[in-house]
């Protein structure tokens, strides 16, 4: 009988635990540890942030589902990793701390035969002075709680505009090395459309601020999309969309401080500038959680498991951008030092960024971190689960299921306005995610599989995916037929 422990119940962790339970017989124990009581479909948080959806439409409680599906659910946060056990416990274990109930604050050791670290990122608001929501008047849409706060603040700005005031809106990345430009892009476009809906668009100056060298980078070094009758760079596509909506652009910007109504940033020319705002939504940098790891005798072995995020089968050799290859990227998400530990989704340490590193004239790195999106999170979680199931059922340690981001396609559906008839979307598919210029010298990607489209249909696709993925996450009948 094997015991598989999954840390984190986000897109990656929940996907992993769903497939583990589906494919392992009852004799094997499947455990999930998460401090959260709800599952959240993160891609729809932007719609909470404009008041078009409520949190209960994008979340559901985890405990009843896991109880029904014979998945042991422990509402706790992980604190330390002990892959070699200790003097009391032979197997690897993690120490966790209960976060609710009578046992709140108590620690418990959870041992495992296989461990999936799907803890995702830490939202590192602290990396930007003053950025944390509630410190000054910036907001975020990274969680449904933050998105509700963003909507409340946006409503106040809309009321001010209805009273005739001019309002400055600033949306984008809140750190020189932030990622999730896609989410910020969706949000700025949705806000712009909502202002039309409230008849106050003429009262707002809307500005996109980003660490991208060119708009449309999205942390993927940009891409060339097939628009049907022409190839178009993502730079040209997004510039066209921003121009159409009257959105100002500040690019190559590393935000480093926020004060009430002011965003401070440095650009690649080394200039320090200030942008005033009345309403701002800025995505923070992501970081690892700062977990520590110890060996059997209690020695610190954190470096064997973590470099910020969890170390996996990537090539971490430091090398210049010109020498990066897709082979640098992991395929199995297995830790090389402890082969029963895996880190899919956002929890793994990438070998480097995808976008070209750049530093300002002052030496400040200003470039996007790799994109961390739902589709690869789900794909990598499933392949990790499939590999573990095979190892349990068939023995051996050869991992047959592989999924490098250099050999994986993804669809990015960016809503640019909500509404069944007035909605809009930018639909991009890309294959592969990490460009492979050796295999595809022209654009780094397969042109026929890397498409772009603008229009109402994109909104319908994103809305359909919202319902489909919540259906899948709730493990309703035939949920497994819906691909990641």
């Amino acid at each position: 009988m094997a015991k598989v422990v999954v840390l984190g119940a986000g897109i990656s962790g929940h996907t992993a635990v769903s497939y583990l339970r589906k494919n392992l017989s009852k004799e094997h124990e499947v455990v999930i540890v998460s401090p959260n009581s709800n599952y959240q479909w993160v891609p729809s948080n932007i719609w909470i942030g404009i008041g078009r959806m409520k949190p209960e439409q994008c979340t559901f409680p985890l405990a009843p589902l896991y109880k029904k599906k014979n998945i042991t659910y422990i509402q706790a946060k992980v604190t330390t990793f002990h892959p070699e056990g200790d003097h009391e416990i032979e197997k690897g274990f993690v120490t966790t701390q209960y976060v609710v109930g009578d046992k709140k604050g108590e620690t418990v050791k959870i041992d495992y035969d296989y461990l999936i670290n799907a803890t995702g990122p830490k939202l590192n608001f602290e990396a930007t002075e003053g950025l944390k929501p509630g410190t000054h008047n910036t907001t975020s849409v990274c969680t449904y709680g933050h998105a509700m706060h963003a909507w409340n603040d946006l409503k106040k700005s809309i009321d001010r505009m209805k009273n005739g005031e001019q309002v400055k809106i600033v949306i984008g990345t809140g750190h020189a090395k932030a990622t999730c430009q896609g989410a910020a892009f969706e949000y700025i476009m949705n806000v712009e459309q909502e202002l039309h809906r409230y008849n106050v668009r003429d009262k707002a100056t809307i500005t996109w601020i980003s660490n991208e060298y060119e708009v449309g980078d999205f942390g993927m070094d940009g891409l060339t999309v097939n628009m049907g009758n022409q190839l178009m760079s993502s730079k040209d596509l997004i510039e066209m969309v921003f121009e159409d909506r009257g959105i100002r652009i500040i690019k190559r910007a590393g935000v480093y401080k926020v004060e009430e109504g002011k965003v401070y940033y440095e650009n690649l020319d080394g200039d320090h500038k200030v942008e005033a705002f009345d309403f701002a939504m800025l995505i923070p940098a992501f970081s690892g959680h700062g977990f520590k790891a110890y060996d059997k005798t209690g020695n610190d072995i954190t470096d064997k498991l973590f470099k910020g995020f969890m170390i996996v089968d990537a090539d971490y050799t430091a090398k210049p951008y010109e020498e990066w290859t897709v082979q640098d990227w992991p395929e199995t998400y297995q830790n090389p030092n402890y082969q029963n530990i895996f880190a899919p989704g956002i929890a793994f340490a990438p070998p480097h960024t995808i976008s070209k590193p750049r530093t300002s004239k002052n030496g400040t790195p200003i470039f996007p971190a790799p994109p961390r999106t739902g589709m690869p999170s789900g794909i990598t979680a499933k392949l990790v689960a499939d590999n573990i199931v095979e190892m349990i059922k068939k023995g051996g340690d050869h991992l047959h299921h592989l999924g490098s981001m250099g050999n994986m396609g993804a669809a990015c559906i960016a809503s640019t306005g909500f509404g069944i008839l007035k909605g809009k979307g930018v639909t991009i598919t890309t294959n592969p995610i990490v460009p492979d210029y050796k295999k595809y010298p022209e654009t780094g990607r397969i042109n026929s599989k890397t498409i772009g489209d603008l229009g109402l249909a994109g909104h319908w696709v994103k809305l359909a995916l919202h319902y489909a993925f919540l259906y899948k996450a709730k493990m309703k009948p035939f949920w497994w037929l819906i691909p990641e």
């Binding site: 510039e239 395929e331 490098s404 007035k422 598919t429 229009g455 359909a464």
Partner: protein, 46 residues
């Protein structure tokens, strides 16, 4: 200077009848991307 979205392009983008067929096309395209599967990039593995 940014390219502009033409009035004709906007008509196509916003027309629900046309976009219905675009919705079907996009879903097929996305499924095609997913159906291609994924694999490794080392040792000639798929």
């Amino acid at each position: 200077m940014a390219k502009k979205i033409t009035r004709f392009q906007k008509f196509i983008m916003h027309n629900p009848f046309i976009q219905f067929f675009k919705f079907i096309y996009l879903n097929i395209k996305i499924l095609n991307v997913v159906a291609m599967g994924h694999g490794g990039t080392r040792n000639g593995k798929k």
